[in-house]
């Protein structure tokens, strides 16, 4: 698995964990342990996305990397990178 795929996998994993934690927090909004867990993985996700986008361009149209120039159409989309 190349570097791009590894980073994508990492982002996918962190995103899933955050989704699960968010569902739990919907029914337990005051759970301190869950909130700390969410904050920790939110930071990890941001770091992984930043690492990916710095090397392989924006992941989505919402990325801040598009602000200076519209890189979204100029570089391969995330699913177009060869494995």
């Amino acid at each position: 698995m190349n570097e791009q795929k590894k980073l994508q996998r990492m982002i996918q994993t962190y995103s899933f964990v955050i989704y699960e934690t968010a569902l739990y927090l919907d029914t337990h909004p005051n759970c301190r342990a869950a909130l700390d867990y969410y904050a920790r993985y939110n930071a990890k996700l941001s770091e992984a996305v930043e690492k990916y986008e710095s090397r392989f361009g924006p992941m989505t149209i919402f990325s801040g990397k598009n602000c200076e120039e519209w890189r979204w159409v100029k570089e391969p989309w995330p699913w177009e990178y060869n494995a």
Partner: protein, 247 residues
């Protein structure tokens, strides 16, 4: 009759949109009194079904009745299939009080009663003032409008009691009630006094988290929510198209 006509005339005056002659309104009232709506007919079908089931219960009570006779005790089976039948102490009663309007009225302070299938039927009632112990009541009070009114401070075992529309079952003290409300006393569909038609779900806790990669592969972050699916194996000679259907 004159007062009725006057009332109808006043109603007719108020009802200016659809004015009717008093004679027509009287005939309408009589029609409504005798009208058989689909709900009326449905109730009648349900009543018929109840009667058929009560007949089956009576036969079951006879089969299951305890025919052993103890001192000062009597074994009765299929008793009370009529109104106002009364049963007294140390009895083994089965299938008592079956039938439409059957009633079991007891002031009962004895012990070790075994009542099964009592009070079945439409409008059946079990009224007890009961301070004894170790009663075993099964299948009591089944039917439309069945009621179990108890002033009860003892240790009872009630199964299948109080089934029916509009029942008032009460479990007090250290009662061990199984299958109350199931109707025939032979099933334990409802245990521990849980009322019908309510969903009970334990509250999830923040514990036993999987590692992130493992969570993604299992579809959940929580180990307690891991429920692997094992599809049934394909059967028959023809290829049913299943993929990997074995555990």
């Amino acid at each position: 009759m004159a007062g009725l006509l006057n009332r109808i005339r006043k109603e007719a005056e108020r009802d200016s949109l659809f004015p009717k002659k008093p004679e027509d309104m009287i005939s309408d009232m009589e029609y409504r009194k005798n009208a058989r709506t689909p709900l009326d007919r449905a109730d009648e079908l349900f009543l018929q079904k109840i009667l058929e089931e009560n007949a089956a219960e009576e036969r079951y009570g006879e089969i299951m009745s305890n025919r052993g006779v103890h001192q000062n005790s009597r074994a009765r089976s299929g008793c009370g299939c009529a109104e106002n039948t009364r049963n007294v102490s140390s009895d083994n009663r089965s299938g008592c009080g079956c039938g439409i309007g059957a009633r079991n009225r007891r002031s009962d302070n004895d012990d070790n009663d075994n009542r099964s299938g009592c009070g079945c039927g439409v409008g059946s009632r079990n009224r007890r003032s009961d301070n004894d112990n170790d009663d075993n009541r099964s299948g009591c009070g089944y039917g439309i409008g069945a009621r179990n009114r108890r002033s009860d401070n003892d240790v009872d075992n009630r199964s299948g009691c109080g089934c029916g529309t509009g029942r008032e079952s009460r479990n007090e003290g250290h009662d061990d009630s199984y299958g109350c409300g199931c109707g025939n006393g032979r099933t334990n569909a409802i245990r521990d006094g849980f009322p019908l038609a309510m969903v009970y779900s334990p509250v999830q806790e923040w514990r036993e988290l999987l590692e992130e990669e493992e969570a993604l592969m299992n579809g959940t972050l929580f180990r307690e929510l891991v429920f692997p699916w094992y599809p049934a194996a394909c059967r028959g000679e023809n290829n049913c198209g299943c993929q990997g259907g074995e555990r």
